[in-house]
Assembly symmetry: C2
Homo-oligomer: 116 residues x 2
């Protein structure tokens, strides 16, 4: 029994490596903001294909990478799937209230445009 391929893992910034500007930039894209909202609602692990994004597979990969590299989400492989989670505790520790106000803002903005 050879050493198991260590389910090749991905580079994540450490908590201290998360930069505010990177987070804001990551959240400033509609597709990525949508992903983050879904992730916050689910409050669990979702694979990349659980999101029905209006972009191609390669673009999806790109957006998830931006989110991971900016420290907004963490990703890990399980089998053929890639599970995504919000790095809520890291974000809350570094930038208290930021994620919640962004999520609330996004929600109310959606309500404004759909409702009246």
């Amino acid at each position: 029994m050879t050493i198991r391929t260590p389910t090749r893992d991905l580079d994540h910034p450490t908590r201290d490596g998360i930069r505010l500007e990177g987070v804001l930039h990551a959240l400033s894209d509609p597709v990525r903001l949508h992903v983050v909202r879904r992730l916050a609602d689910a409050d669990g692990e979702l694979s990349c294909s659980d999101f029905d994004l209006p972009v191609s597979k390669s673009t999806t990969t790109h957006h998830f990478r931006v989110l991971r590299e900016s420290g907004v989400i963490s990703q890990l492989y399980r089998g053929t799937a890639k599970l995504n989670t919000l790095r809520r505790s890291d974000l809350d520790a570094l930038f208290p209230g930021l994620l919640d106000s962004v999520l609330a803002g996004a929600r109310s903005e959606t309500d404004r445009s759909s409702g009246a």
Copy 2:
């Protein structure tokens, strides 16, 4: 006495025209975030030249325009100067807590890198 040249004014989005993604994008640039922080500290009107930005005059103009068009600041001419103010009440009404958490996050990040 002819009608005074109406101190040519600038296009600002109305409160309802301010988009979350635009605000996040505007805040995700170091130069612009710096401007916003100074503006929040001063809590008053500052002319563009009150900031000692590490970029040229034309780039400065560009950044102030991005901030204005995204709804983060308002600008008005007074004589030869252009006065800038944070649109705090609009932002707080639309995205409660967002501006404060960004400002606090920026402050703590600065402290982390300079302090220890």
